[in-house]
Symmetry: C2
Subunit: 304 residues, 2 copies
Amino acid sequence: MTSVENNSLTTSAGEFLLSCRALIDAELDRLIPQEAVEPARLHRAIRWSVFAGGKRFRPALLLAVGQTFGADSARLLRTACAIEMIHTYSLIHDDLPSMDDDDLRRGRPTCHVEFDEATAILAGDALQTLAFQTIAEDEGLTTEIRAQLVGELARAAGTPAGMVAGQARDLDAESKTIDPEALEQIHLQKTAALICVAARCGAIITGADRGELTAITAYGRNLGLLFQITDDLLDVTATAGKMGKTPGKDARSRKATYPAIHGVEATSEQIDLVYRSACDALKGISRPAKLLESIPKLIAEREH
Amino acid sequence: MTSVENNSLTTSAGEFLLSCRALIDAELDRLIPQEAVEPARLHRAIRWSVFAGGKRFRPALLLAVGQTFGADSARLLRTACAIEMIHTYSLIHDDLPSMDDDDLRRGRPTCHVEFDEATAILAGDALQTLAFQTIAEDEGLTTEIRAQLVGELARAAGTPAGMVAGQARDLDAESKTIDPEALEQIHLQKTAALICVAARCGAIITGADRGELTAITAYGRNLGLLFQITDDLLDVTATAGKMGKTPGKDARSRKATYPAIHGVEATSEQIDLVYRSACDALKGISRPAKLLESIPKLIAEREH
């Protein structure tokens, strides 16, 4: 978070993100079994990965959208945490030796390195389960909204159009040359789907109308693309210290990235394009959305 | 299924199980993306494991309980399939090299052997997601029941009291000597929780009253223990041909099993005990339950 704290361009989004973290972390701490509860090793592994210093971008986005539409955070917080659980489960499984084989995340050992592979697999599995349980049992929401949210989140996290589908496509892409459309499909599913659903859930909980939900979906989709493309670019340009992981790793492992296919210059142009698309989408919302307007800038200017 | 088909003791439960399989398989085929849909390799891997000749015991149990309480199968089928998806995801992840490292299941290569480890991890992940999506989007049920079912299934599949917790405890047990209570805890969480929730979901969908739900819970819990203990015993006594996997594997891998801790004779006595407890539990149901009465016998007398 140093980059946001020290950034002279810190916007209201940056401040909002920081203010959300404590709220989200406290709720995650309530929702996830404590380390002393058996099976303790599993719960230690889950907590190792959930409380690893993540920025909580996805849950904060859900809170930002929900608050824009007038909901207080109490109605939003559990669904926000559920999305962070899905995100964390995907990181744990992504880092496994048979997947991306990463030893380091945010400057410390990944779950399977700190514990073991079997425990890391189970920790990810349990986090996914807990995400859906958290929404299903959220008594602050009607059962109608709960059922809708579980369905939305599952579609965004699963296959054929969600996060796991994107990861499978990404694996397939390692062994062949892919075209720009295939790359966008990977980005949309692997990263943008979960970011987009975070925005959508914020709107759904607050009963946004169909037109507003369409606008928020376009906003979330472009925000997700912006997130992934800037991430790809940072992998090429950043230093190890700022990233907390080894830069250039994507290129060496022949990952399908935007700079690898289009070059650095076209990548910057694409970033501008999706940035503008995210901002434009907000014109479909008939209420003040200053906070949402400042989020794309925060993503475009981050240093990991 | 050869053992059931050729068994002269085939009961009404055996016939019911067989009659359910086609129904469940057809619905699973509708719910799971076809192999031609991209990412095709992921969907092939999912289907490889889902359509591997499983007996569909858990979903059939849900149908049996639901029909006993008067529901037609249309209201029960999707939740039944969701439970089979959770079961299959757990088998795929269990078989991974860092877990049980099994190359063979039901006489054919396991998912990570036929495909690869990364694909097998993602296939399991996606199946879990699809299970919750299936229930959340089941328009034959009220949203109240859907939310309740998602919560029930998540608790039975997750941690600290469900299937993943049982698997984590089982892993911990490999490196130390465990006592009988710890073993029962592993069995209850690793196997009985999902079998018990299958029975409970059948009762919940049909609006069973509190007393009947308590009886069904005791029935499902003992049925689950019966299932696991007979499984442990079969691992000691069966031949490879009948099991479709290598017998004696549990003993060699120092798995915590009932025969290993109590011996074969005490294991048979324990089987009688939980068998009787399952049958006794049905006295709490104030309607004919012949089908449910015949299920424990089918489990106790199976040959894998």
